[in-house]
């Protein structure tokens, strides 16, 4: 397998501009002859589908929810970055580029990240034109806030509902194209296979989640914007339906999987309350702008009410350890710091797995009403879930799985190792290296969808003759038969444990051995346990119902089966990456509790190639070269 990044030559600042000129164009009159499938209607998918339809391509878009507006992007709270420098505080495209590369612990491609920073400014313009109601100042201009890992204020936001508003903007653009007949939307359709003909991606097999019908859809190119795979951990901040199925099927058809072990654990989530827990809820990182994180200094104070613990008995450990970034230290660092204090027996709440996020100082300084205006809806959400009032008593938070930086490997054009298969948004591995900074996933999803794929798809299609291939192709039939077969198998087992039982079990193994801190012994253990779970799953799962009806248990079973395999790959990758970087913390490689990179041996992307059932996948590498930034130890002190 050859990993050609296809990064254009020339100076960093001019690469994208030059590339746009060098890429081939499709004649406007010919565009309608090409059909493009977009799987996913989140920020990446909806933006891509709408923009490509506007250009004149025939687009078919798929999502598993009942409406494209419900994609998981809707849940993003805090904001979206852009190098507008509206604050005049020293921001620039170069600074956003640098912060993102450094935030990713020097494990992302310079050229991709620079392009991301460049188009970030267009995203805000585009969204405002669509009517996204970003927060404004009294003068009527756009407001900004700061987010972790940056010392400038470049985050645009819409209350605590930024993802919702950005997605509704993209959704409305998409619905407009649906109304015009340019996009055919298939809701409640789950992609279950990729169809590859003559080495090119030519379609997908879906299951109609209402009727159970298995359908093949053919096209000239396929784009996956199917989101992240963090639900492999069972408990995560993801929506319940988020799955790795689409990318996993593509992987098994030959698309390389980039850096599967890079997972982001977000420091500010509501702690677990019990075994019944079905998901974890994020409390936006923006809260760390005004909230102060602390734990008691003495273990004997941990059981006391926070108000009974005197100021001098509190350890504001982020402020202490990282004086220049304080509570705004990046996510991986803040999460690890929380784990360390809890491991040291200083955690609060049930099981000692929690730290305080305290707003008392902010309320004293700004007044409760200003705090309410900024975070009111988040406080309300917290109170609903925990029954505690954060205006009166500090929030209790703990880290939780939140984002996957890994994903299908793509080149500079967002094309995977399968020609004609493009991957956008969280589903690809591209821009965040080993750790994503806050407010940059929304930026990347929209950059990919609005401003990258509309150009790069044309370059690919210009070299491909539209041929209206139909689903009678043997490859399409075989893919559909494979889906039928798998569903038949899942239903036939008729064992004793539900798909959720297995999902929970997998999640425990992943969290324990491939979570916030990883080590060789633990990962090896996980690599023994997971195949055993897989074997038991296929012998003992109980699905219930049939395949030709709406069957949510069957949907889940299929996703869990894929998560088990994907989880195994994550552990293999984590084991092989013998260094610590960003969210990937190997206990064997640390210095004063901080991640210790090994640039000599690991300044590369690991891209895994599937070799068939029962075979070991092969790890390929793409060397990363840093010509514009100096590889430095990432310090936030």
């Amino acid at each position: 397998m050859e990993l050609k990044s296809n990064i254009p030559d020339g100076p960093l600042e001019q690469k994208w501009d030059k590339h746009r000129f060098d890429m081939k164009l499709v004649n406007p009159a010919n565009k309608r002859k090409y059909k493009v499938i977009v799987v996913g209607s989140g920020l990446a998918g909806a933006a891509a589908a709408a923009s490509m339809a506007e250009l004149g391509y025939e687009v078919e878009c798929f999502c598993y929810q009942d409406s494209p507006r419900r994609a998981h992007s809707i849940a993003a709270q805090g904001g979206i970055n852009a190098a507008k420098n509206y604050r005049n505080d020293g921001d620039s495209i170069r600074r956003l580029f640098y912060d993102t590369i450094k935030g990713g612990d020097f494990r992302a491609r310079e050229a991709n990240v620079y392009r991301l920073a460049q188009v970030s400014v267009n995203i805000i313009d585009q969204c405002v034109a669509q009517g996204v109601p970003f927060a404004r100042e009294y003068g009527g201009l756009l407001d900004n806030r700061s987010f972790g890992g940056a010392q400038v204020s470049r985050t645009f936001y819409a209350k605590g509902q930024t993802g919702q508003q950005l997605l509704i903007g993209a959704y409305q653009a998409l619905e407009r194209q649906i109304g015009l007949g340019k996009v055919k939307m298939h809701t409640r359709h789950e992609m279950q296979e990729l169809i590859v003909v003559d080495g090119k991606a030519r379609g997908i097999v879906t299951r109609d989640m209402v009727t159970g019908e298995i359908e093949s859809h053919m096209a000239d190119a396929v784009c996956l914007g199917t989101g992240g795979y963090g639900n492999a951990f069972y408990l995560a901040t993801y929506a319940k339906g988020c799955n790795g199925t689409a990318i996993w099927r593509a992987y098994k058809k030959g698309a390389a999987f980039g850096n599967p072990c890079y997972t982001q654990i977000h420091p500010t989530c509501i702690p677990v309350t019990g075994d019944h827990q079905s998901k974890l809820t994020l409390m936006s990182e923006s809260l760390r702008n005004d909230g102060r994180v602390w734990v008691p200094k003495k273990a004997e104070d941990c059981g006391k009410k926070p108000s009974e613990i005197k100021e001098e008995d509190r350890d504001y450990y982020l402020e202490r350890k990282y004086p220049s970034f304080g509570n705004l230290a990046p996510r991986d660092i803040s999460s690890r710091a929380a784990k360390q204090v809890c491991d040291a027996g200083l955690g609060v709440g049930p099981g000692g797995r929690g730290v305080y996020l305290d707003f008392q100082d902010a309320i004293n300084r700004l007044g409760a009403s200003t705090v309410a205006a900024k975070y009111g809806n988040l406080f309300e959400m917290y109170e609903r879930i925990t029954d505690d009032n954060p205006y009166k008593t500090p929030m209790r938070i703990y880290p939780a799985v939140h984002y996957t930086m890994g994903g299908l490997w793509v080149d500079y054009n967002l094309m995977s190792t399968i020609p004609g298969l493009f991957v956008l948004g969280e589903a690809n591995f591209s821009d965040h290296g080993a750790n994503r900074l806050g407010a940059s996933a929304l930026m990347q999803g929209l950059a990919d969808g609005y401003f990258v794929i509309p150009y790069t798809i044309g370059n690919y299609l210009a070299g491909h003759k539209p041929d209206k291939m139909n689903a009678d192709q043997p490859e399409a039939k075989a893919a559909a038969a494979a889906v039928q077969d798998r569903i038949g198998k899942l239903l036939a087992v008729n064992g004793k444990s539900t798909p959720t039982d297995f999902h929970r079990e997998l999640g425990k193994v992943m969290w324990e051995h491939c979570g916030m801190a990883r080590n060789e012994k633990g990962l090896e253990k996980a690599l023994e346990l997971i195949p055993e779970i897989k074997e038991r799953f296929w012998k003992d799962v109980k699905v219930g119902g049939s395949g030709d009806e709406l069957n949510q248990s069957l949907e889940l079973a299929g996703r869990v089966a894929d998560f088990i395999e994907l989880g195994e790959l994550m552990c293999m990758d984590a084991l092989q990456r013998r260094e610590s970087c960003g969210g990937h913390f190997r206990e064997e490689w640390q210095e004063d509790g901080e991640a210790k990179r090994d640039d000599e041996n690991f300044a590369h992307v690991a891209a895994w190639e599937y070799k068939g059932e029962g075979q070991k996948p092969v790890r390929h590498t793409e060397q990363l070269s840093f010509e514009n930034v100096h590889l430095a130890t990432r310090s936030y002190k």
């Binding site: 009517g131 201009l141 653009a173 401003f451």
Partner: protein, 260 residues
């Protein structure tokens, strides 16, 4: 303090759109007050699957009150009795030991039941496709700060845009009207300068689609606002009525040009 509850659920079971459907009772035992309402249903469903029966089907995804997927009528109220709360944000501490809880799907002809508590809400998408947007093709935008917008207008637009499209307003309305949903979109876009060029056609087209989908008329019951988990205000309906009236009076259908 965590407590454990024993509850009886009366659940609407309906195999598919053709099935007439009916209520079936389930016992939910030892339910922790720390659980969310949907986690309680998860527990019941795990028991049902283990018995080899089909679990209770309901829509859900984010479980944070933002995606708008969940929605069921709980004890006669869309999303249950707690104000401004989606079903997924409801917690079992709002219930008492021994409670009998009835669960039904949204009832509206424009939202046909697909299975159990899960309905087809694609009519909402078609209303948006008819006009609930600003035509701003990718790439055509000017610099975002070229268009200052008074903070108050931006904030009001945001309040209207907070609608999650769950359909509770329709389920609560005795006429199954979608006026609050449509009004929220007309207000969100109509309060912004970018939304002005299409303001007339938007109101007309969205209302026409709403009628075509079979939603009822608004007779000012106000149940929609009361049941909205996001507190979308009735003022949005007033704005829709104003826009619609004005549009009906001023609208000139497009005349085919050429030929003269």
């Amino acid at each position: 303090m965590e407590k454990h509850l024993n509850l009886t659920l009366q659940v609407w079971r309906q195999k598919n759109a053709q099935d007439p459907g009916g209520f079936k009772n389930y016992e939910a035992k030892g339910i922790s007050t720390e659980m969310s309402f949907l986690e309680m249903l998860d527990v019941v469903n795990e028991g049902i699957i283990k018995k080899g029966e089909a679990p209770i089907t309901f829509d859900h995804d984010c479980r944070e009150g933002i995606c708008g997927a969940c929605g069921m009528v709980i004890n006669g109220r869309p999303h249950g009795l707690r104000e401004r709360t989606t079903a997924c944000q409801l917690h079992m501490r709002s219930f008492n030991d021994g409670d009998v809880i009835t669960l039904e799907p949204w009832r509206a002809s424009a939202f046909p039941v697909l299975r159990d508590l899960l309905v087809d809400r694609s009519s909402f998408d078609r209303i948006i496709a008819a006009g609930g947007f600003i035509s701003a093709p990718t790439g055509s935008a000017q610099d975002a700060n070229c268009l200052p917008i008074p903070k108050d207008n931006a904030d009001r637009a945001m309040d209207a845009a907070a609608c999650i499209g769950c359909g509770a307003c329709v389920a609560a309305c005795p006429n199954a009207s979608a006026m609050l949903f449509v009004g929220a979109k007309v207000s969100h876009l109509g309060l912004l300068p970018q939304g002005q060029p299409e303001r007339t056609s938007r109101a007309l087209d969205m209302v026409a689609q709403m009628d075509a989908e079979g939603f009822g008329t608004c007779t000012n019951h106000g149940e929609c606002e009361a049941s909205c988990p996001k507190g979308i205000s009735l003022d949005n309906i007033a704005m829709l009525n104003r826009d619609y009236l004005k549009a009906s009076l001023t609208y000139r259908p497009e005349v085919e040009s050429g030929g003269f």
